[in-house]
């Protein structure tokens, strides 16, 4: 269980998050959605400790402020939006860095397996800096997967924090990455991801957190949150939703930009 209470973040004198309280359960995919500038990424970066914030965060019932970097690294992997590299490392060298976190160390076959999962077998000796943005993002995902390969370890759930993992990917790889996240959750791990694509969110997540202006405006299942009213309120545009069958996820079409 991830539990965050009263998270506040200010950039300069401008408050960006206004006391956010939220939870995410292990075994589930939790998606954070909302318009640009609503504070999605800021919330994720506060949850991972990348930016200074107020409030408390507990991961698996332990306060994260009392944990060392290596302890956290054995519990969670974090995928940023983009990771530019300063030096010409090869793909396999980057993925191997995921083994540094200790718990997976010595498992030397993992990098190749992780690369196969993100459909990059054969890219091992390519230079990372020469890949496209989408390929780089998949290399980084493979690195993160190496770090927390097993979704649970010694009875503890492990966590994936993914910041827009599919924004720079083509449709096939979007589905592939979402399936990896789904499988991780079904294996007992927790996944928290910032998402832009509401249809993929509806298809693959268990819980959706909708944000606007640094506040949570609605939390619930995809069916509850990806609905006409909350979405058109948050995004300020008219929404057409269809549901091909009652058991399937809602499907979302943007209609027209509202006049207000």
């Amino acid at each position: 269980m991830l539990y965050a209470k009263d998270i506040t973040v200010s950039l300069g004198s401008k408050p960006v998050l206004h006391g956010i309280t939220c939870t995410a359960a292990a075994g589930e995919v939790t998606a954070i959605v909302g318009p640009n500038g609503s504070g999605k990424t800021t919330l994720l970066r506060a949850l991972t400790g990348d930016i200074a914030h107020g409030g408390q965060i507990a991961l698996n019932d332990r306060d994260v402020t009392g944990m060392q970097a290596w302890q956290l690294a054995s519990l969670r992997g974090v995928l940023p939006q983009a990771t530019p590299l300063a030096f010409p490392f090869t793909v396999i060298e980057v993925v191997r860095m995921g083994l540094m976190a200790g718990v997976s160390a010595g498992r030397n076959h993992l990098p190749e397996q992780a690369l196969a999962q993100v459909d990059l077998t054969g890219y091992e000796n390519c230079f990372y800096q020469e890949l496209s943005g989408g390929e780089q993002q998949r290399v980084q995902l493979a690195r993160v997967l190496c770090q927390v390969w097993e979704p649970t370890l010694d009875g503890q759930s492990r966590w994936l924090f993914l910041d827009e993992p599919v924004s720079s990917l083509d449709i096939a790889h979007q589905l592939q990455v979402m399936q990896i996240a789904r499988a991780f959750a079904e294996g007992g791990g927790g996944v928290i991801m910032v998402m832009h694509d509401l249809n993929l969110t509806a298809m693959f997540s268990d819980k959706v957190i909708l944000m606007k202006n640094g506040r949570i405006v609605k939390t619930g299942t995809p069916v509850e949150v990806i609905a006409n009213e909350p979405l058109s309120d948050a995004y300020g545009c008219k929404i057409d939703l269809s549901r091909p069958a009652p058991a399937t996820a809602p499907l979302f079409h943007p209609a027209t930009v509202s006049t207000h």
Binding site: R45, T48, G49, D50, Q68, A69, W70, Q71, L72, A73, S74, R76, G77, V78, P80, T83, P84, L85, A86, F87, P88, F89, T90, I92, E93, V94, R96, M97, G98, L99, M100, A101, G102, N108, E124, N125, Q147
Partner: protein, 359 residues
């Protein structure tokens, strides 16, 4: 050497080609260092043949006093100093580049050598004004220690100025380096103006950078500081690799970033400080050596750092030989030789990265 073999052994995670290549390069560099060192011992104005003297000594014959003095008291300490200074400059460069995440960082270019030089000059000129007890406590270590403090202060200041929100701006770093170097030069100028004749003689070689002042006492004084500084490098390799992904990501990989940064800064300050205290400012070794090695065997610091130590030592010995023979029997300051060799490489790197630099 223990640290070196330790690093090499720990690097043996299921080899890519580059890891295997890097280890082969290490072996090659060790052999090359031995050859270059022997060659350096046999080269010089005195015309003493070290090979002949060595052969005589090994077969139990009598080596003339003159040959012994030339070999053991002039050339050998000079060689040792070249090895130590070359290795520490190259490793400092590689550490700085890893720390700043930029291949253009180098103690000479960003003003750390100037800071260390200022420390050393201050110690030479103002040393007599210090309490006698303090001076005698530090003894020979006063100048290297002051150089270390100067280098450390400059590195910290530079890091603070150039890094905002975990990102180091290259442009700010280079410009701050210019400002720091100019400031150090101004203060040095005031101190030189104030110095007496004896001190002036001591100071002259700072401006040139030379191994000519080599002596066993200098080597013994600087060795512990340089070894201490470089011994930290193997422990930093993994952290610096992770740092290439950015500070936040390195933290998520379980690296204690603050600790890595602090140790790297101390290590750079100690090695650069001691090197500058011995030989004055010798530029470009710290930028050319890691760059060549990255081209050959990749940026993995577990191999880069030990190989940089070896290649740095080799390059400085070769530069020293060039400086000794090119206008023999006079000597060209070695700083000029390394600058002539190094500045085109620096420009080349700069041009290749022009798109990245937003100057």
């Amino acid at each position: 050497m223990v640290a070196l073999s330790d690093t090499l052994a720990r690097g043996a995670i299921r080899g890519t080609d580059r890891a295997v290549l890097a280890r082969r390069v290490s072996v090659f560099l060790i052999i090359l260092l031995v050859i270059v060192s022997l060659y350096s011992l046999t080269t010089g104005a005195a015309g003493t043949s070290a090979a002949q003297a060595l052969a005589t000594w090994i077969t139990g014959g009598e080596v003339s006093l003159r040959d012994r003095v030339v070999l053991l008291d002039i050339r050998l300490p000079r060689l040792m100093m070249g090895v130590l200074v070359g290795a520490s400059l190259a490793v400092s460069g590689a550490l700085m580049q890893g720390l700043f995440r930029n291949p253009l960082a180098d103690p000479g270019i960003v003003g750390i050598s100037s800071g260390a030089g200022l420390g050393a000059i201050t110690a030479i000129v103002l040393g007599p004004l210090l309490p006698v007890a303090f001076v005698s406590l530090l003894g020979h270590y006063l100048v290297p220690f002051a150089a270390f403090l100067g280098g450390w202060g400059t590195t910290l200041l530079l890091y603070r100025v150039a890094t905002r929100k975990g990102r180091t701006s290259v442009a700010t770093m280079l410009l701050a380096g210019i400002a720091l170097a100019a400031f150090a030069a101004a203060i040095s100028g005031i101190l030189v103006y104030r110095a007496d004749d004896n001190q002036l003689r001591d100071l002259t070689f700072w401006s040139m950078g030379s191994l000519a002042g080599a002596s066993w006492s200098k080597v013994f004084t600087a060795t512990p500081i340089i070894i201490l500084g470089m011994a930290a490098a193997p422990f930093l390799a993994k952290g610096l690799n992770a740092l290439a992904l950015g500070e936040a990501t390195a933290g998520h990989l379980g690296i204690n970033i603050q600790l890595v940064k602090r140790i790297a800064i101390l290590s750079v300050a100690a090695s650069t400080g001691a090197a500058v205290a011995m030989t004055g400012g010798i530029g470009f070794i710290g930028i050319v050596v890691p760059h060549l090695l990255r081209l050959a065997t990749g940026p993995d610091n577990r191999y880069l750092l030990p190989n940089a130590a070896l290649l740095g030592a080799i390059l400085l010995i070769v530069a020293d030989m060039i400086s000794r023979v090119i206008i023999a029997p006079a000597e060209l300051p070695i700083g000029i030789v390394t600058a002539v060799l190094g500045s085109p490489v620096f420009l080349w790197i700069l041009l290749r990265r022009r798109g990245v630099l937003d100057l």
